[in-house]
């Protein structure tokens, strides 16, 4: 089936099989391999993208469902020669280790900050609860979000009881 979709502001028209996931379409047909496959079953969050303004796991959506959709992926995050604001905060806090969860994590943070510019720490944890990171223990990621929301002073208060 022929579909048209807009990814990171660019319009694509591709022929896809009906059973192909959006994740595989992005990676194989559009060459956008920044979005990763960690499980293919909607469980790990490595393939998180923004789909018509909401974060979704790209492995849980069929490419044909994306006909006419507007999609944001990690490749569209940094618009200049350097890092985006989110990426800069992640860099400053050493929030990426192996890097495999990072693209999806960035997408989840992006949507969080768009919806709630001043999230609570609980809301930050909720926003990334679908994104597994096996390397960092998450604290350095939350610290980056605190930086992004102008609350660096609260870095010692990552308490959740």
């Amino acid at each position: 089936m022929r579909i048209s979709l807009t990814v990171n502001g660019q319009r694509y028209t591709v022929d896809v099989a009906e059973h192909k996931t959006l994740l595989r379409c992005l990676r194989e047909d559009l060459g956008l391999t920044g979005t990763k496959e960690g499980c293919g079953m909607g469980e790990c969050g490595a393939c998180t993208i923004i789909f018509n303004g909401r974060v979704v796991n790209a492995c849980m959506i069929l490419a044909v469902e994306a006909n006419g959709a507007t999609i944001e992926t990690i490749e569209g995050e940094a618009t200049g020669p350097g890092l985006s604001e989110i990426q800069t905060a992640l860099e400053r806090n050493n929030s990426a280790q192996c890097g495999f969860c990072t693209p999806g994590m960035v997408m989840s943070i992006k949507e969080l900050l768009r919806d709630k510019p001043k999230p609570t720490i609980d809301e930050m944890k909720e926003a990334i609860e679908g994104n597994f990171c096996r390397c960092t223990g998450y604290v350095q990621i939350i610290e980056a979000i605190l930086d992004l929301t102008g609350r660096s002073a609260e870095k010692g208060e990552l308490k959740h009881v």
């Binding site: 490595a46 890097g99 495999f100 604290v139």
Partner: protein, 766 residues
Amino acid sequence: MKHNFDFIQNLLGRTVYIDDLPEPANLLHAAVFTSPSAHGSFAGLDLSAALALDPTVRVLTAADIPGQNQLGTAVLDEPMLAEGVWHFRGQVIALVLAGSRSLARRAAAAIKLVGAADRPAVTDPRVAFARGDLILKPRTQRWGDSAAAFALCHLVVSGRADSAGQEHVYLETQGAIALPDDSGGVRLMSGTQGPSGVQKIVARVLGLPMNLVEVETRRMGGAFGGKEDQASGWAALAALGAFATQRPVKIYLSRRDDMTSTGKRHPYSSDFRIGLDKDGKILAFEADYYQNSGAACDLSPAIIPRTLFHAAGAYHIPNVRVTGYLCRTNLVPFTAFRGFGGPQGFFVIEAALDKAAAALGLDPVELRRRNLLREGDVSHYGMPHEGVLATETFERCLARAGYPERRAAIQEYNRTNPASKRGLAVMPVCFGISFTKMMMNQGGALIHVYNDGSVGVSTGATEMGQGVSRKLALIVARALGVSQTAVRVESTRTTTVANTMPTAASTGADINGMAAQLAATEIRQRLLAFAAASLQLDPASLTLRDGQLFADPEPAAGPLLSFAALVAKAYEGRVDLSAHAFFATPGLHYDLATERGCPFAYHVYGCALLTVTVDTLRGRYQFDDAIMVHDTGVSIDPLVDLGQIEGAFAQGLGWAALEDLRFDDKGRLLADTLSTYKLPDGHFMPRLDVEMLQRPNPKAVANSKAVGEPPLMYGIAGWFAIADALRAARPGLELAYDLPMTCEKVLGLLTGDLVPAGPSGGEAGR
């Protein structure tokens, strides 16, 4: 930019992992057909339905292997493709190739076994032990006379401690791409911690000399030990496919296949006996560790000694007898996982102390304090402890936590909250650094300074997220007096640095960093000698720093030359701008017959104090905070080390509390996806307070210390903190030392539905 390029590319999503590599036009995708049960036999395979799916489908079995069908290293007991019999569920029987991944997986699912019959399976290591089914003979370490010492003890307690396995859950599953090479061999891109190990196994399976097999590892999306030996089989399958078809072959496991078919942390079941004097000083300790090794040897014989070396934890015990048994069962071959047998050993000694403290009526924190290692104490393997920081890290940790007041506040909280109880636990750590197999403590580096002044570094180290590339770039940059961004850390290739060891045992930066520093220093000396000769200056007066050459007696005169200009002149002057260096950790010796020696270059110390709140109606708990004081040496990159400390702690806490790796009695893994295997998330993590104690360590590169594994042990405090809270809720509650302490288990203990496991109790596979 401050960091090396890899880190920035990670954030941009531009790093390339195995499945992101551009696919050659004639690529074949691989899938595997695996065994359906824990043990069984078969007469053959019915491939008709699989082959009928598509003309590109090709199925390879053991009969198609040109070399040896063997993945084993220490013991040759692990066929790559099962022949006639299988020994665990998920064992690979056939390799399936097809033009697309989905086609390959559909074809694999269409294969049928012919003449298959299940055989009895053993999943419990104690049952295997009782049957005498040991992979190798047991190992015993003795120090003093524990039997005699028990007779002198004021108190002797004994018990059993069980710990479950743990799934690595590296986010990138196992994968490799193999390409046929016009030399008649193969080239591979492999997600492995040990490219030379993959090279050796591929050469053996294909019947080729090692020089016809080239292996490159750019990076891994996490590994944690799971891609040490366990990456080799998947790479060798891809290589077999490429060799047989003369087409490129890619294998990239589905998460379920990865969780079902790859090794994990070893489950252990152990018995302990501990004796103390009336002041709580430990006089004697004995333990028997029944390691569930799984169906094949893998790295188990190297993991057992690390359990034994860490049997005494961070404590001095004058009389010790500890024995480790490698029990063969019909579960997946268990393998390396961060800590490598150490965590299992630590859990047992901590369980013993927990039980002893209760019997003595002594504060468990105080009991631990009284037994900490001191300078000059000799370990139970005969190694004198030097530079001991056990007491210092312990006391600093307690001071940061405000210990006596914290305990009082918890008691007050527990007195006034009927449905919620708090508990705490302290966890001191002493962890030996070096591969316990002595020959593995070697590494090489090759540095090229290109004639524009940029620098490329190759070593045996592989990058899996632990930041070894950042450390290597810093070490080389400092040695050459250039900025970190002028240094590129190359992918790890068998043709560049050969005969390397896997990046493991926390030693990646220690060994490869030292080799890189030696190679960089060699080039620096050549450049300075050349500059001195051409400028007619004393070489001792010249220094390289900040990308410039200076003549030090007259610093005000400014730089003489830029590094790039010096390199360009040296190139014209026919100076060798490349250097290879080799490093073997000095001072190591060990006598296997007497189990005595000096197996470690040094030890890493530290202490954590963890507080938890348990909801005693629902069994749920939340870790409140963790205070850690960790001995990092002079940190080469403090942000990297902090990330390692926090990440390792999270993994240890997951193992101790949350991650429930359970097999049924038929050897089937019950949690084989990430929806059933619960991993730590942001909510699970407590507030962290980490102090890096930076005392210079003369035994490692740049006075640093290895950091990868030791902080994982802090997570064990999670188990004991919950136990502390449970005892506040149910005074006198008897707990089985059975890790992990899941919410389900907590609720069972609170309601009385879960009784302590007897000698024959416990769940299968533990």
